[in-house]
Point group: C2
Chain length 225, copies 2
Amino acid sequence: MSSDRAFKDAIYEQIARVGRAVDHPRRLELLDLLCQGPMTVEQLARKSAMSVSSTSQHLQHLREARLVRVEHRGTFRIYDLTDDASCELFRTLRGLAQRYYAEMSAITEAFLRDREALEALDTAALQQRLAQESLTLLDVRPSEEYAMGHWPGAVSLPVEELSGRLAELPKDHTIVAYCRGPYCVLSLHAVDMLRKNGFRAIRLADGVSDWKAQGIPVAAGEVVS
Amino acid sequence: MSSDRAFKDAIYEQIARVGRAVDHPRRLELLDLLCQGPMTVEQLARKSAMSVSSTSQHLQHLREARLVRVEHRGTFRIYDLTDDASCELFRTLRGLAQRYYAEMSAITEAFLRDREALEALDTAALQQRLAQESLTLLDVRPSEEYAMGHWPGAVSLPVEELSGRLAELPKDHTIVAYCRGPYCVLSLHAVDMLRKNGFRAIRLADGVSDWKAQGIPVAAGEVVS
DNA sequence: CCATTAATCAACGGAATTGTTGAATATACT
DNA sequence: AGTATATTCAACAATTCCGTTGATTAATGG
C-alpha cells in the first residue's frame, strides 16, 4: 500500500513540528523564560539579549508548534505557554541533557568554580532546613516574575536593587536566594554580593517550574515590601 | 559580566542538542523503531524504507545526541537506545503532537475511515476484556521484534505470514492484533485480512513501549510456534 | 489626523542540513 | 591473500534556516 507511506510521513512530520521548535538554543531560552510567566516580546528580547525582530521570529516558530500562544492587549502582544505541557517539554529536554551530556556538568562546574560558588540547595534540602531553622527566602528575579508565581513566604528583591537594599536583610540567619532555575545566574550574583557584605547566604538550585513539577504549591500576587 | 552570556549560550546549546536530534521526521521514525528493540543499520533502513546511507547518517545524528548507542558485532553494528529515557522522549513528543495538533487526529481519522477501521482498544480496555472473556492476542510485528519484548501470552504471527497461517487461529473467539503503537499500520492490515476471512478481530492501539510506560510487565524470548 | 510605540514582515547574504552517489573502510569467510 | 558484506565517509547540488536591516502594520494618545 503506497498510502501507508504517506500516512507515516504525515504523522512523523507532525511529531517533528515539536522537535523543530526546540532545536535552537535561543528558542529554548525563550521557552525557559516563558516558564516564569507570560511576557511581551520586548521583555523577552531584553531578558534574552536578542533583538526584538529576532525574538519575534523565534516566537513565531514556537507558536507554529503551538508551544506558546499570543494574547493581544493594546499595542502589546503577550506571549504565554499554551499549557504546562510546554514547560514540561523544556524540563524533559533539560533533564536529558543533564543525564546524557558530560559537557553540561563540566560547563556548570567550571563556571561555578570560577565564582567559588559550588554549593547549592535543592528543594528537598531547603524543606528540611526550613523545618529546623529560621531562613529568609529571597526571590531575586525581576518583580513581575515574582508576581506571576513564587515560593510561599519568599521576599521579592530583584538582584539589580540588591546593593541598595541590603539594610532590609537580616544578619542573624541564613538567606536562601533563588531565581529561574539551576542554570540561571541571578541567584549566583545575589549570593556573591550578600557574602561580600557579611551575610550568610546560599543559592537554591530549583525554580518555580521545578517546584510545580514536584507538586509544591506556588504563591502568586503582587510584591509585598 | 560578559561570561554570563557565554555560560547561558553553552547551556542552551547543550539542551538544543537533544532538540536537533528529533527535529527530523526520519529520525523520529528511527527512534520509534528502536523503541521496539536493538537493530542493525540494514534492518532499520528496510523498515523505514530509507537508503542504508541515509539511515546511517541519521543514526549518527541520534548518536551525537546520545539518544542511541552502537555495539559492534562482526561486520554488523547494532544500534540501541541509550536507555528508557530516549524512548520516553519520543513518547513525550508524540504526546504533545497529539495534544496540540488537530492535524494529528485529522490525518489518522481520514486514514482509518478509508479502511473502515476506526475502532481500537487501548490497554485498559484490553485488560478489562481479558478478565471477562477468552481472547487471542496476536503480535503481528516481525518475529525479531516479538523476541525483544511482547505482551505476556501473545502469539507471534508476522503480518507477512498471516495469509498462509490463518488455519492456526481460532474462529470461536475474538482476536486482538497489535504492532508497534498507535500509528503503526501492521495491525490494521492484520485485522483487515482477518475480518475478510471470517474472523472476529480488533486492533490494539498501544505498543510495547506504551505498556512499559504504564508499568505493565513485558515478556521477552524466542517465538513459540 | 499625525506622532509614537510595539511588533511583524520582507529581503538579503551567509551558514548549516539534506539526500544521493560512489568510493573507502573494516570485518569475516574461504 | 582475495572476495563478500555491512557500514561509513566524502563530495555534490538543492534546500532550508539564521540574524540583520529597514520598511510596514496596528493600536494608542494628543
